[in-house]
């Protein structure tokens, strides 16, 4: 699963780290002082590292709960994100993480108690409310069997019923969620793209069927689930891929109970795009004509807004417009 496990000296003797290490007795271990010695150094290559990523167990210092970027979620006010992990076990070619980091290794911050304290204090500052996103710099659930992340963080939100926790994921690692009591203020938001986009650009991601199966189990168990259709990469096939995707999704889930549905076009900060192009000069997606606006890059398309509106119309045949928001 990991080529190597790097461990910061400071967390080496913690019981959480010892338990994690016990699960991988055969993986070589290397002790480092700070994770920055190993992660995101110059002269590293994300694409090559993705072939055999390492796990880095570290302690997070500094701000742990940050204001969510504009348009990240469905609720503009008081939205925050926190990242217990950097990087993702999946390998989506359109993923902005490839442009954000020069390293594909997974950094797992193991000082959960410090995150808890920071989240609790932020919730209290917001009079018990706010929306808290996990899964901005990683996939929230994909490493759950190793990290026990949601096993640990969901109960915290049980104590703050007016604060909402959203897990962004493409993972089917839901066992820990199913094993614990449901809390109504936790949302599991699963991302989907069309079958065609998935098979072209999403590597190692569980199939749409498997993800739907996981969402269905969660929904039946009483968890609130949400759908994120992004990034939409519009091409010559028009609406057809989305017709079949939506039909498949809404045949499996109870649409009325879905917390929210969103869609968003392919967008990326210009600098990240530049770096990704250098990494994947052979990737068709990054060779397409682009436009730039407000520091972001988008694929050039004449009828983008028309196509997006048509996709939204399709969605509204399954859900109510109140359940929907468009990502910035």
């Amino acid at each position: 699963m990991f080529s190597t496990i790097y461990i910061e000296e400071e967390v080496l003797e913690t019981s959480r780290v010892k338990n994690m290490l016990d699960r991988f007795p055969q993986v070589p271990r290397v002790v480092c002082e700070r994770y920055g010695e190993v992660f995101n150094r110059k002269s590293q290559n994300f694409r090559l590292q993705k072939k055999a990523p390492a796990l880095i167990l570290a302690k997070k210092y500094g701000s742990k709960v940050l204001v969510a970027p504009d348009g990240y979620g469905y609720n503009d006010s008081r939205s925050y994100y926190f990242s217990h992990m950097l990087n993702c076990v999946y390998d989506c070619r359109y993923c902005f993480l490839q442009g954000m980091y020069s390293s594909a290794n997974y950094v797992l911050f193991v000082n959960y108690e410090d995150f808890e304290e920071a989240i609790a204090s932020k919730i209290e500052k917001n009079s018990g409310g706010g929306v808290y996103y996990s899964g901005y710099d990683c996939d929230s659930l994909a490493l759950e069997p190793v990290s026990d992340f949601c096993k640990h963080f969901v109960p915290l939100f049980g104590e703050y019923p007016n604060a909402e926790l959203e897990f962004r994921t493409k993972s089917t690692q839901i066992r820990h969620l199913l094993e614990q009591p449901v809390i109504p203020n936790c949302v599991i938001a699963m991302s989907f793209t069309s079958h065609e986009a998935g098979s072209r650009w999403e590597h190692k991601v569980p199939s749409i069927d498997k993800r739907l199966e996981a969402l269905q189990k969660l929904q039946l168990a009483g968890w609130r689930v949400a759908l994120r259709f992004e990034p939409l990469i519009l091409d010559s096939q028009g609406l057809t891929p989305y017709e079949s995707l939506f039909a498949q999704v809404f045949a499996k889930l109870d649409a009325r109970k879905i917390h929210s549905v969103s869609s968003g076009l392919f967008r990326m900060p210009i600098d990240f795009h530049k770096r990704i192009v250098k990494l994947y000069p052979d990737e068709e997606l990054f060779a397409r004509p682009t436009t730039t606006a407000d520091g972001m890059i988008a694929l050039k398309s004449e009828d983008e807004s028309l196509q997006l509106a048509a996709i939204e119309k399709l969605l509204f045949s399954h859900i109510s417009p109140q359940q929907y928001y468009r990502c910035a």
Binding site: T4, P28, Q44, L48, K51, A52, N105, L234, P289, K300
Partner: protein, 286 residues
């Protein structure tokens, strides 16, 4: 197993790996093992190579010698094509208790003098790894569980200026330990130990070659770029634009379409670039 790796090593596939050794004795066993021939060069460093692009340079002992050899070789191999090479340091080291002739990849290289560590990414499975400490004087007590030697840190620091860290590795062979101190080292054993490690060395070179080849293939610039550069005057910025355009054509499966612009080589560089841009913007829209 070794046959399979040997085949890949000496077959038609390119092996863009630079092996750097400090001692001529380390080179001695590698030359026949890797079918290397003396490489004629004006460089002050002794070099060997083969037709598959595998290269070996003897740096001399110590950090300064290592840095100089890498700089020299990288200048000799410089290219405008974005093609890189893997770098592999093979050399002897001491360890408190590791058996003589055993060998590891370095997973953490610390410069004893500065205390700074570097971490070669571990992409190659099947070879055990160990910490390496680079010292300026031979170490006799081996206080840490690490291989002690004299070049690895400088090797890594210098080679990563010309390649990516994943493709820079050090392979250390134990030549001395507490029971067999360095003063009693019989130099004749060095080529023998290296020969006995043939399987690991070939595995290492093969896997490194595979990674570089894949990298270089994906970054290969279409031939038209070179052709146009040699025929028309292009500013530095225009060269960059043209390179990117050629790569975009290739990524979109339109490399063959590029050939048509060669006939325009008599035209102004601006005209060629704008024609290529307009065409790809038309075709590339899905």
């Amino acid at each position: 197993m070794i046959k399979k790796f040997e085949k890949s090593l000496h077959g038609s596939e390119s092996t863009p790996v630079n092996i750097v050794v400090a001692h001529a004795l380390e080179a001695k066993a590698l030359i026949p093992m890797l079918h290397l021939q003396p490489f004629q060069t004006t460089s002050r460093f002794v070099q060997y190579g083969n037709s598959n692009n595998l290269h070996l340079i003897v740096s001399g002992i110590g950090r300064a010698a290592m840095e100089a050899a890498i700089t020299d070789l990288s200048q000799q191999q410089a290219n405008e094509e974005g093609q890189i090479r893997a770098w592999l340091n093979i050399g002897i080291a001491g360890h408190s208790k590791a058996p003589l002739g055993s060998a590891w990849l370095g997973n953490k290289i610390t410069c004893q003098e500065s205390g700074v560590s570097a971490y070669p990414p571990q992409l190659i499975a099947g070879i055990d790894s160990v910490a390496v400490i680079t010292v300026d004087e031979p170490e006799r007590t081996y206080p840490e569980d690490a291989a002690y030697e004299m070049e690895a840190f400088s090797f890594f620091e210098q080679a990563t200026k010309y390649s990516t860290a994943e493709l820079v590795q050090v392979f250390k062979i134990i030549s001395d330990n507490l029971e067999n101190p360095i003063e009693k080292l019989d130099f004749k054993n060095i080529p023998i130990w290296i020969r006995l490690l043939q399987e690991q060395i070939i595995l290492l070179i093969s896997k490194m070659s595979e990674l570089v080849r894949e990298h270089n293939d994906s970054h290969r610039i279409p031939r038209v770029y070179r052709e146009l550069c040699s025929r028309i005057h292009l500013t530095v910025n225009q060269k960059l634009q043209l390179k990117r355009l050629c790569l975009r054509y290739k990524a979109l499966g339109l490399e063959a379409d590029l050939e048509s612009v060669i006939s325009l080589a008599g035209s102004h560089s601006k005209q060629i670039i704008s024609q290529l841009s307009a065409q790809i913007d038309r075709v590339g829209k899905q």
